[in-house]
Each structure stands twice: as C-alpha cells, then as structure tokens.
Amino acid sequence: MSVVQNIINIVSAESDKNGGRRVLEVNLEIGNLSGIEYGSLDFALKHLAPGSVIESAEISIEKPEGLARCNNCGNEFALNDFIGCCNLCNSFDIDIIKGRELRVKSITVE
C-alpha cells in the first residue's frame, strides 16, 4: 500500500464527509526520522496527484526534527539520524520521541 495512495484515501474520505468540496491544501507532517525519503515522496505525489482529489491542492510538509531521550541519564537531545548517542553520557540506549511522525495533519477545502 503506497504512502501517497494512503494520503489520497485519507483526504478523499474527509472530503466526502464534507460535501465533496474541492481540496485546496493538504498539510502533512513527516518527520525526518519517519523512514520516508522526501525525494521519492515528491516523485510519487507528482505522478499520483493528477486525476485524484488532491490534484489542485497545494501540499505542504512540516518536517519535525528528531528528538531523543536517553534511557540512561534522562537527557533529551536533537537527533538527525537513527543512530545517536547521548550527548551527556554517551549511552546508545536511547528512545526516539519525536521525528517519526507520518501523518495527514489537516486539509483546507473550499
């Protein structure tokens, strides 16, 4: 199941619930640790948007920065990679608490 097809399905369902009004904006939240390749997403959106409910919509993507918490000392620190060690105690035992978002936040309709 493709990510873009899922976006279209989610937007379509919401648009149907609201009288089928034209979708003007789609606001996505895709964190930099979500595992999604932004370039491939752009490519897929370009190919799947035409003819769909999002064809005339402006797509904006909020890209939350990664944030991790160290399980060893409790320190929270910014993370741009899946690998990271705590910048205080150097432990690799970390939990990613922000940056894995992969959501349709909202849409704007006519």
Partner: protein, 290 residues
C-alpha cells in the same frame, strides 16, 4: 507505489498462490491495474506559502466567494496498514499463532535457513510459511519440499510485504492453532521495516559477506528487530570480516539487539536459533495461559 523507493504500480494487488496449483484458474488472484490517469497540469508545491494558481483548464470558474475551511485530520498515513496489522494480531491471538517476520537483503540465506529449520524442527513444532518475492514460486517450492505448508505472495513490482497481503495469505494458509508462522519478507533492507504485519517478532538476517556496517547503513531495519542472525559463518576463514565490529555497529543502532552467529549450510550455531524460536513460542503461550 512505494514511497520510500518509488517502486510498484498504483492499484496493483499481490498474487497469493500455493505450490502446485494452476495460477491461471485462480479467480481470487489477479494483478489489478488502475487505468492510466489523464495528465492534467498538477499544481503541486512543497513550499509553505500560498500561491495564486492560474488555471488554464476549460472548466468555468465559480465566482461565488467560498469561505475556506480547514479540517483537522491528524491521521497516521500508514494508518490503514497499521489497522490491518492489528486485525492480523487479533487473528493470531485467536488461533494462538506465533508469527516471525524474517527480513534481510537478497542473498543473505533466508530461504536456506528456513529450509534447514523446517527439516530439523517440523516434528517438534507445527510450522507454516509465507514466502514473499516479486516473482516466481521458487522459494515456496523449496519450502514445499520440506513438507511444511506454504503460500507464495508475489508482489509484482512491490518491494515489501504489507499487512493486507499477510491477512490474505494467512486465510489461504489456514494454519493449525498453536502454529509458528514464518514470514520470509521480500529481500530488501529498506521498505519492509516500515510495514507492520502484525508479527510477534522481527528477525533480521545479515551474512558475513555483506560488510560489518550494514546496521548503520540501514538503521531503521536494525532498530526494529529483536534478533540478528549472522549467517554464512562457514565462510569466515576466507573473509576479512570483523564480527565484533558488526555487533558493535548493531548495538549503536539498537542496544537490545541479540546476535546469533550461524551457518545454515554447516549447521553451526543453529541450536541457539532453535532455542530462541522455542523461547518466543513459550512466551506467547505463557501470556495466553493466564
């Protein structure tokens, strides 16, 4: 289309088959393709600011002033897959199934490992296998020769298995209650990691011919696994492979990742792998016997 790598065709459905059946007569299974979309001009931007679009389409412009309305959706994009994965978990719980998702790059030895495991344990444990590949029944036919029930999922141009495919495959397999289902995912260290299948555990297989730094190159995959099988250890005398480095890289990405060194070819280390399998089987039985 897979948005991590752009593969796959929209609307294409995976093919599920069993070794020995005539696939042409299988009415349930056919690749479905969406019709080609007419390419209108896509108004698509990734910037945050507003644009005034110049429409050069032939439709009439509405001159009535509509008020724009923002609708909060806050829905996870992989919601549909995750929902199906939870439905799968429901089926697995009802039938007391332990489900293992085996992932690796192509050629690491997943199928050989499975063949050997089936042949050695099938009299002790009730197994069933779901094989995932883009094309061919080759892997399912190899498992079929061990006598263990198997279905083949062919994804066509897709590069990963997803929860919907597993849902259909398990229904086709119709395994005995209390079985262990081994899912051999499509050979790929990237996309399968994104798709929850409803499994009890994820196992990643890495062979010693692949380079010690695989875990840091593909962190998402290794972060989400509970066990890493280091395969083809019989080849170590001919390689410059540093096992401790591989384990160190693995633990940088996932400090809780367990490693087992083995060779599916010679049998070295397989006992530890069997013990691990038996331990997760017991674990799922423990939670059910409250």
């Amino acid at each position: 289309m897979c948005d991590t790598c752009g593969c796959g065709k929209p609307g294409e459905k995976a093919l599920i088959s069993v070794p020995g059946e005539n696939r042409d007569n299988n009415a349930d299974n056919h690749y479905e393709h969406e019709h080609e979309h007419e390419h209108s001009h896509p108004h698509y931007h990734t910037h945050g600011h507003e644009h005034n679009h110049d429409h050069d389409h032939s439709h009439e412009h509405d001159h009535i002033n509509h008020e724009k309305r923002t609708i909060n959706i806050e829905t996870d994009i992989l919601y549909a897959n995750n929902l199906m994965a939870e439905r799968n978990r429901g089926i697995f719980e009802a039938k007391d199934l332990t489900v293992v998702n085996l992932m690796s790059s192509p050629g690491s030895g997943k199928t050989t490992l499975l063949e050997k495991t089936m042949n050695e344990l099938k009299d002790k444990i009730s197994f069933a296998v779901i094989e995932g590949d883009q094309q061919t029944m080759n892997d399912s036919e190899r498992i079929n020769r061990t006598g263990v029930p198997v279905v083949q999922v062919n994804t066509g141009s897709g590069c990963h298995l997803d929860a919907e495919m597993i849902n259909r495959a398990v229904k086709r397999l119709n395994p005995d209650n209390g079985s262990v289902i081994m899912i051999e995912n499509v050979g790929n260290l990237v996309c399968p990691a994104l798709f929850d299948l409803g499994e009890s555990a994820r196992v990643v297989i890495m062979s010693v011919t692949e380079g010690e730094d695989k875990p840091v190159k593909y962190p998402n995959m290794f972060r989400n696994a509970s066990l890493c099988l280091l395969n083809k250890c019989d080849l170590l005398p001919w390689l410059d492979y540093d096992i401790s480095k591989a384990i160190e890289y693995g633990h940088q990405v996932n400090p809780h990742l367990k490693f087992i060194k083995l060779s599916a070819k010679t049998g070295e280390g397989m006992t530890e792998w069997y013990k691990w399998l038996e331990s997760i089987l017991d674990k799922s039985k423990l939670t059910d016997s409250r």
